[in-house]
Structures are given as structure tokens and as C-alpha cells.
Assembly symmetry: C2
Homo-oligomer: 201 residues x 2
């Protein structure tokens, strides 16, 4: 049973429990994982075929290393996709949290509906790795929490994160995954307007 590629959260979590249980960040395991992830990115960029042998060659690694660590190409791609889906910055702060929420969702919808975005979601889901899928919604929840916290700091009462996930995130993702056309700006704005109308004290 191969050990999944370690990401930072996992390191964190395990390290808390048993500080001795992790390879050093600069160790071989981490180096190889980085090389493989980079190889996948580069091949994707170059539009080359993503096969385990091709990735292995690019990463300067032997295919059996990848098979033993990740099991299948799908699981490797799932891990890669989760990393790429991790947000790199907090949502912008305009001072108006409602506008920030609307702006954030518009950008989120656009990114996820793009061809690369759709491919990443597919990759995450294709590999029956519950943790990876959960990480994606956790990232989204964290972004929403940032916006909500600003509202709370100003004494406002924004909808719960769970409500926002149900009312704005879920419909957008559902339409991206199961719909023929991608959710447009008016649609997204409508979702936000409705949840703000219904959901605030």
C-alpha cells in the first residue's frame, strides 16, 4: 500500500502528534515529490501527454517510484490538482464585504469554469480520495471565512459559511460539472443577492 504524497497539512498534522515521524523538509522524499509535481506541471504546460513514464522521465525518476508512491496516475494527478487549487491570496478587501463576496464568487466561478479549472476539479474527483476533495471545499470555506470575519469585525451578521457553501458555491460547481453552459456573471450575482436577502438577520 503506497503512502500518499505528503502535503504540508499532513506534515503539520502528523508532526504535531509525533515530531519524529516525518522526513525532513529537504529530505529525499520531499525532493522527489517536488520533482514529480514539477514534471507534471511542465508537461501540462507543454501540452504533452501525461503518462507515468513521461512524468518519470521528466522528473529524472524511475516509473516504479511513481507507481509505488501514488499507485495510479489518477491519484498523482489528484494530488497535483489539489495543490493548484489552493488559493494563493486572501480575497481582496474593499471595505464592503458584500461587494467582496460578489467579486470573490465571480472570480471563483470564472476560474473553476475555465478549461484548466474544470480539468483540476475532474482530476481531484476522479481519484476517490476523500481527503483531496475535502481539502478543496476547505480552501473555499477558508476564503469565505476571511470575508465573513471582516463583516463580523464591522458588527455585521453575514450568513454562515455553511449557508454560503450551500447557496452560492454548490450551485456554481454543480452547473460547472453537470451543465452545458458555464455560470455567467448575472447568475452568480443573483445567487449572492438572494442569499444576502434571505440569510441576514
Amino acid at each position: 500500500m503506497p503512502v500518499a504524497g505528503w502535503d504540508m497539512e499532513q506534515k503539520q498534522r502528523v508532526a504535531e502528534k509525533s515530531p519524529q515521524a516525518m522526513p525532513r523538509p529537504g529530505g529525499r522524499a520531499a525532493r522527489i515529490q517536488a520533482a514529480v509535481f514539477k514534471a507534471v506541471d511542465e508537461l501540462k504546460q507543454a501540452g504533452e501527454e501525461l503518462t507515468v513514464p513521461a512524468i518519470a522521465t521528466r522528473a529524472g525518476v524511475t516509473p516504479s517510484t511513481i507507481y509505488r508512491r501514488w499507485g495510479t496516475l489518477a491519484e498523482l494527478l489528484s494530488d497535483v490538482a489539489v495543490r493548484q487549487l489552493r488559493p494563493d491570496a486572501a480575497p481582496p478587501d474593499s471595505g464592503d464585504w458584500r461587494a467582496d463576496l460578489k467579486g470573490w464568487l465571480e472570480q471563483y466561478a470564472e476560474e473553476m469554469a475555465s478549461e484548466p479549472g474544470r480539468a483540476m476539479i475532474r482530476d481531484v474527483l476522479a481519484a476517490d480520495r476523500v481527503d483531496n476533495a475535502c481539502a478543496c471545499s476547505a480552501y473555499t470555506g477558508q476564503q469565505l471565512d476571511v470575508i465573513r470575519q471582516r463583516a463580523l469585525d464591522r458588527g455585521d451578521s453575514p450568513p454562515d459559511t455553511a449557508v454560503l457553501m450551500d447557496r452560492v458555491v454548490a450551485p456554481v460547481i454543480y452547473r460547472i460539472l453537470f451543465g452545458r453552459e458555464t455560470p455567467g456573471g448575472e447568475y452568480v450575482a443573483g445567487l449572492v443577492a438572494e442569499v444576502l436577502r434571505d440569510g441576514e438577520g
Copy 2:
């Protein structure tokens, strides 16, 4: 470029345009497709490994037939999953459409959250076949339409199908796909209660 397995809708659609363009329903193409689909079902039942050679053997067909018709195992499994996701009956009619809606959603959530259900959704999505994913939401929409039509017949004004998809179906599917735990009965009932409160008259 392999031609995807024909399903009834496609036949219908093409047949309308050019009555001569389809193989007969009892023709070889249909027979082979049926044999392959059956083979997949049987292997799944038996818990055997699903590989193209295994499916081909079981179907009494040569692997290259499958590769040329479907391209990849993922696409074949996607086609199989869509067929299985097609509802086999209209939602039960108790005379109370609100109760029917709640009951239908509870059963839908349970089915989709089950391990076979999750696998089918994954299979449908894994194969970047927009038509297959769309068919799934179309089936769901049709079921909702049946319930709505009963409400309309009684002079009630149920929420639009699109609203129901956004407010009840999407959150359930989102949680199944991206959540750690499956949506429970209380949660589902809550979604229905809210959309009925917000969305009517």
C-alpha cells in the same frame, strides 16, 4: 475518432434529422453495445477488476472493438454510469407535492451518497463527456418536473426547477462530492423546508 456508444436519445435526435442515418435497433452495433454494457454490469456485480480485456472477454468481443468504439475505459464506464443513473420510475405521488419533494430528495441523496452512487457519479464525471454529465442533471430535472407538474395541476405554485436544482440538488451533490460525511435526512429536510419557505408565492 471513435463514435460514442449510441443511446436512445441520440438515436432519436439523429433519426429525426436523417431517418436513414441509424443502424437498426436489432443491428450488430446495438447488439455489441448491449453485450459490452452487460459485461460491465456483471463484472461490477462480481466485484471483478474492470479492465478492457476483461470486459471484452466477458462480452465475447475483441478488445480492439472496445478501444475503437469508446476510446478509453473511462468513457465506456461513463456511458454505463449514465444509463444506470437514469431513473426507472416517476417519483411516488402521495397527493402532497411538498411531501413528495422531500421524500424524493431524501431517496435521491441516499442513493447518490451510497458507495455505488458515488462511483457512478465519479465515472460520469471522470470522462470529460459533457453530454453524459448533462444527461444526469437532465434526469434529475425531469423528476423534479413531474413533482412540480402535480403541484401546478392542483393550482399551487412550486419553485422553478432551476431554483430547486440550485437550492436542493446542488448542495446535496456538492456535499457528496466534496464533503467528509454524507448529507443526512435532517439536513436534506432542512434544504427542502427553506426553499419552500423562501420560494413560494
